[in-house]
Amino acid sequence: MMARIDLWWLPRALVLGLLAFVIFGPLTNLLLWTVAEKWYFPHMLPLEYGFSFWQRVFSPRGNAMESLMTSIIVAVLTVILALALAVPAGYALSRLKLPFRSLILLAFLIPQAFPNLPVYVNIARFFYQIGLNGTILGVVLVHVTHGLVYAVWIATAAFSSVDIDLEEAARSIGAGPLRAFRDITLPLAAPGLLASAIFVFLESLDEFTGSYFVGAPDVNTLPLLLYTAGSGGNYQIASITALLLLIPSIGFMLVVERFLRADVLSKVGH
């Protein structure tokens, strides 16, 4: 028995090791680039390490801080607007009788179900005419439209997973519909809503194509900075920016299951 198990660990370790290399090799490469002062072919590792590029990125005159602030402002506004739209919609979709309910749910998927590049091109043209191009509001509107599917679908699932009996119990002892919603349903759905907020926040933080057409060059978000630095061949700055974008994404991946419990997850899209 022991011998057989030991033998099987060989291919297992080989495959898992290869997978680990495929996943962490490129990530390690990114980390190395953020601290590489001097690195050229064919040296496997950088020749000099240091943080001088970090200083340049975070210096008051560097545009990374400005981009970081822009990105965070855009993402926060996107979350606020998306949730303001998604909470009522999610409540109606999960609790109230709606005609064409499943078609409405599908409608929110449309921005994800069509290639959105031609759409952004035309939004940019339209926004240009009404003066929204190159403004924070313009970028936020684009991000909200794209993130609404997460906001609405997860909000709907979060409300659906709250036991309706609790709400009815509150109603039967005299709470009005708004009070029952505020004191019972909303707090119980809060973890799910938080998950949808994080999803929307990350979608906005990482969004490139829409910001590229609607925002650039006036609204310079982090992905746009990454792109400009990368095309200019400045791999250190690009890698540091990429790392800034990477941290929240990976952090969220590690905790997502705490917010999105299985009972909510199983109701997404229904």
């Binding site: 072919f41 919609a89 709606l98 499943s102 069509f114 290639p115 959105n116 759409v119 684009v142």
Partner: protein, 273 residues
């Protein structure tokens, strides 16, 4: 009746967003594709095919090959997570596979551009290990780089869906087949796979559409010709201000996706009923 009105009022603002900032511009792009000068015509399309027909095939091939590989890998990983008998290996794999899932495409582009380049870390390692000499190294920053980037980023997402569907299957048929001596590969192909085709299809189609609209990866990894239609659209706008051809290319990529999206809609309607 009043309640129904309330429900509609609660949903309307969110729906208006979708209509105003997605469906209307989508319509504008379709109409714009036919605008030639002051009249309507097919000029943009003939110009698109003349200039970019190789890019159209290139796009379909890249996205098609990527979708296929994503499907294969996600079945393999999901299958092992479901049928693997060594708990420790399953746990390691479960921890390992999802890392790239939430990494933004633009970061994937940057990471792989430095990793796969002719003088990138991958070749540096191979040279240091003595597998290659510096003269033998080749960069992967062409169609292969795009495929690698897409597969790297999208496989975890599809795997998550597939593994979830596999985990919720009825274990008894699997156990029964196992007791009768069926190999795990056979169980995966003949028992597990047929029951999760719907989920797999949904995941692959969402990935297909996503890959069709990603601009950053082709721009960062391979912007020279032949490249993907998304890069061509951006080029028509930025270099020429040519909305006609850009919209025509957009509509062509819409049509390429439409066939695939149709399968998705039919699938999800079927699931719902």
């Amino acid at each position: 009746m009043q309640k129904r009105l309330l429900a509609i009022l609660l949903v309307i603002p969110a729906l208006v967003m979708i209509v105003l900032f997605f469906i209307v511009p989508l319509g504008a792009s379709v109409v714009g594709a036919f605008v030639v000068g002051d009249t309507y015509g097919l000029g943009n399309f003939s110009k698109s095919f003349e200039l970019y027909s190789s890019d159209m095939i290139f796009t379909l091939l890249i996205v098609g090959v990527s979708t296929l590989l994503i499907g294969l890998f996600s079945i393999a990983i999901g299958g092992y997570l479901t049928l693997g008998e060594n708990q420790r290996a399953v746990a390691v794999l479960r921890w390992l596979y999802r890392w790239p899932m939430f990494i933004p495409f633009i970061v994937v582009g940057q990471i792989l551009r430095t990793f796969l380049a002719k003088n990138g870390l991958m070749n540096n390692i191979l040279v240091s290990l003595g597998v290659l000499t510096p003269l033998q190294t080749v960069g992967f920053l062409d169609w292969r780089g795009i495929v690698i980037a897409f597969v790297w980023k999208q496989t975890p997402f599809v795997t998550l869906l597939v593994a979830g569907a596999m985990a919720s299957l009825d274990r008894s048929t699997i156990e029964a087949a196992r007791n009768l001596g069926a190999s795990r590969l056979r169980i995966l192909i003949e028992i597990v796979l047929p029951q999760i085709t719907g989920t797999l299809l949904v995941g692959l189609i969402l990935s297909f559409v996503t890959m069709m609209s990603v601009l950053s990866v082709p721009l960062m990894i391979n912007a020279q010709s032949p490249t993907m239609l998304t890069a061509d659209i951006a080029f028509r706008i930025n270099a020429h201000g040519d909305y006609g051809v850009a919209n025509a290319l957009g509509m062509i990529s819409l049509l390429l996706t439409a066939g695939v999206a149709l399968i998705y809609l039919r699938q999800s309607v079927k699931d719902r009923s």
